[in-house]
């Protein structure tokens, strides 16, 4: 809590620059709040008071209030920034940009940490998100935050952003599909044959240790050679990115398939065969449902990893949100980097949640059998 306040006092609240390439002049918190108006200041104050509540006395009500307080404070900080930005823009050229300063980001991060602690006490993983991000989402929807440079970047890149987001998701799905089609059968085979296991795991482990950028560039050579023979294939672009993503996804999928099947108790298998289930019935009715939670947790790791790696694959021209990040990096436009990075983080978190839910459901389908 002290850290949150310190970050507001000691670090710049906003940065204002004449255009997006220059690094801006720092503006401290009191000045910014003065320019933004008293409503935001009041919201910030109320939010912070609510945040303190669960720290003093962690009852359920206090935890909910703390979550809402964190949400309010974050939204108020962003709103105040936008208000001040609006004020600053009035007397400057249209190319001028006002971005949130390090103080605001750190402030938000610390509040999120406090909020996640409160959410953990409540044991409502998903519902806890609403009060925290709700106020911010409302401000975004109302357009209140539009004067901030991040959103001005978004407005300028609207179509490109949407295309990049879709491309990113397609890359991830396009990698997971083939990885499942190859990885699951490979895992089943490896579980049954120790010899295959001894070969497959070192090989897949080796792939996993190659840094992603190195793997992308390693694929350029052979694929551009292949491109001379097969039309449509080239060393850069979507195809090599997909190949690399599939290769990375194989290890966790194969590993968890094997782990899942290994986890099926031996006596249950013997009983199934002894009852007269055919090998196919045994696999579909006994092995598959019992291995599913472990397989899904492997898929969760794979999918989250693929979301991150797909960003790097922009380096070889595969597009996606990574393209926006690198564009920003090369143009020294920090807001563009953030515009690309934030949705990658959001996608990863959403993917993680989705698979956690699926895992929970598949466990529930096992009747809560302790595994």
């Amino acid at each position: 809590m002290l850290l949150a306040l310190l970050s507001l006092v000691l670090l710049p609240f906003l940065r204002h620059a004449r255009n997006r390439l220059l690094s801006g002049q720092p503006i401290d918190t009191l000045a910014a709040l003065g320019q933004a108006g008293s409503i935001w200041t009041a919201c910030l104050g109320v939010g912070l008071l609510l945040v303190v509540w669960p720290l003093v006395r962690p009852t359920r009500l206090a935890c909910w209030a703390g979550l809402l307080g964190a949400g309010l404070a974050i939204a108020a900080a962003a709103g105040a920034g936008a208000g001040a930005a609006d004020h600053l823009a009035a007397g400057a050229a249209s190319s001028s940009r006002t971005s949130l300063g390090a103080g605001t980001w750190l402030f938000g991060a610390v509040l999120l940490l406090i909020a996640s602690d409160a959410a953990r006490r409540l044991r409502y993983g998903l519902a806890g998100i609403l009060p925290v991000f709700g106020p911010l989402a409302i401000l975004l929807a109302l357009g209140t935050l539009a004067p901030l440079s991040l959103l001005r970047e978004y407005a300028a890149q609207h179509d490109a952003f949407r295309a990049a987001l879709v491309q990113h998701i397609l890359l991830v799905l396009g990698a997971l599909g083939p990885a499942l089609l190859i990885g699951v059968p490979l895992g089943i085979a490896a579980q049954r044959r120790a010899a295959l296991r001894r070969v497959a795991f070192p090989a897949l482990n080796l792939i996993q240790t190659i840094p992603s950028i190195a793997l992308f560039s390693l694929l350029i050579g052979p694929l551009s050679w292949l491109g001379k023979i097969v039309p449509g294939v080239s060393g850069i672009g979507t195809i090599p990115a997909l190949i690399a993503l599939v290769l990375y996804s194989l290890l966790p999928i194969v590993w968890n398939t094997v782990e899942g099947l290994d986890g099926v108790p031996r006596d249950v298998r013997i009983a199934a065969r002894g009852m007269g289930l055919s090998p196919a019935q045994c696999f579909l009715q006994v092995d598959t449902p019992l291995a599913m939670p472990v397989l899904l947790s492997g898929l969760r790791i794979t999918a989250v990893q693929a979301v991150g790696l797909a960003a790097v694959s922009a380096l070889i021209g595969a597009g996606g949100l990574g393209a926006i990040i690198f564009q920003g990096l090369f143009a020294n436009a920090l807001d563009l980097v953030i515009l690309g990075a934030l949705p990658v983080i959001a996608l990863a978190v959403a993917t993680d949640l989705l698979f956690r839910l699926l895992t929970t459901f598949s466990r529930a389908a096992l009747g809560g059998a302790a595994r």
Binding site: D267, I270, A272, G276, L366, G367, G368
Partner: protein
């Protein structure tokens, strides 16, 4: 009837079952007993083709099992293993209905049969019908395992150390259930155990297995009174063999007509259906050498004397 004819089963250099010929009569409880690794479980699994013989043939009702598809053969037999081997992701009802479902019975018939079996195994249908195996005690799980094996009215029940993981009290209860169910259904039971007391209390005949061979085949009484070798004698137990023997006959077997009713009247009478070991125990506890015996209705029918207990039958 199950007939092993010169059956050998090898795994590489290791011979698990070595030239065994053995006939199991319809309706008997044959117990295969031996130390771990003696080949008794392999012998059992040769019957439902979880193993196939390297040499020799196994016949069930005069039909070579090698000529029957394994799944078809197994659906005709009940199979119970240690711990039950229940499917953890299925309810009790679904577990019990496994084989009928495989045989394509219609839903109503399966549902009715499941209730019948819950009742037969004294499982509370109201509480356990839709429970999952992990919610059950070890004894209940094993009861469900037995119910599942009996679901399709098999004429043969194969049991592989089914009660090995249970506490002595639960185990004795389930042994009682097996005796009762066997009496009600008349099915052939092949029962693997390493516990001699269990073997003696359940079996109509016992086959003692050592290193893949049958070293003695006989009734429990045969084993106790005429062990074929020192090895069998050790297995049966040297120090307490006499006490085990007493567990084998009932008070009714050594009854004398009442001689001096006034003398025995001081003590509580004993039921004629109890084993002789219970009579001995009662005499030791009460410090007397004779007990009055009553029948199931409580009518005095005679006396049992300490001297009669120590006389070998």
């Amino acid at each position: 009837m199950i007939a092993f004819d010169r059956v050998t089963r090898r795994y590489g250099d290791f011979t698990a079952v070595d030239d065994v010929s053995l006939t199991i009569e319809s309706g008997e409880i044959l117990v295969l007993i031996g130390a771990s690794g003696s080949g008794k479980s392999t012998l059992l699994q040769l019957i439902n083709r979880l193993q196939d013989p390297t040499e020799g043939t196994v016949q069930v009702d005069d039909e070579d099992v090698a000529g029957i598809a394994p799944e078809q053969l197994r659906r005709r037999m009940g199979y119970v293993i240690q711990g039950g081997g229940l499917f953890p992701h299925w309810t009790v009802a679904r577990n019990i209905g496994t084989v009928p479902r495989l045989l394509g019975w219609d839903r109503a018939r399966i549902a009715a049969r499941v209730l019948e079996l819950l009742d037969l195994l004294r499982l509370d249908a109201g509480r356990l019908h839709d429970a999952y195996p992990h919610m059950l005690s070890g004894g209940q799980q094993q009861r469900v395992g037995v119910a599942r094996a009996l679901a399709a009215n098999p004429s043969i029940l194969l049991m592989d150390e089914p009660f090995g993981a249970l506490d002595p009290v639960t185990r004795a209860e389930l042994q009682g259930e097996i005796r009762r169910i066997h009496a009600e259904t008349g099915c052939t039971v092949v029962f693997v155990t390493h516990d001699m007391d269990e073997a003696l209390s359940l079996a109509t005949r016992v086959a003692v297995i050592d290193r893949g061979r049958v070293i003695q085949l006989g009734t429990p009484l045969d084993l106790l009174t005429r062990p074929a070798s020192d090895q069998v004698a050790r297995f049966v137990g040297t120090a307490d063999r006499g006490l085990k023997l007493l567990g084998f006959q009932r008070v009714a077997d050594r009854l004398r007509p009442s001689d001096r009713p006034d003398d025995t009247a001081r003590h509580d009478p004993i039921s004629q259906d109890l084993p002789l070991s219970a009579a001995l125990s009662a005499m030791v506890m009460r410090g007397c050498d004779r007990l009055e015996v009553i029948d199931a209705q409580g009518t005095p029918i005679g006396t049992i004397h300490l001297a009669d207990l120590v006389r070998l039958a």
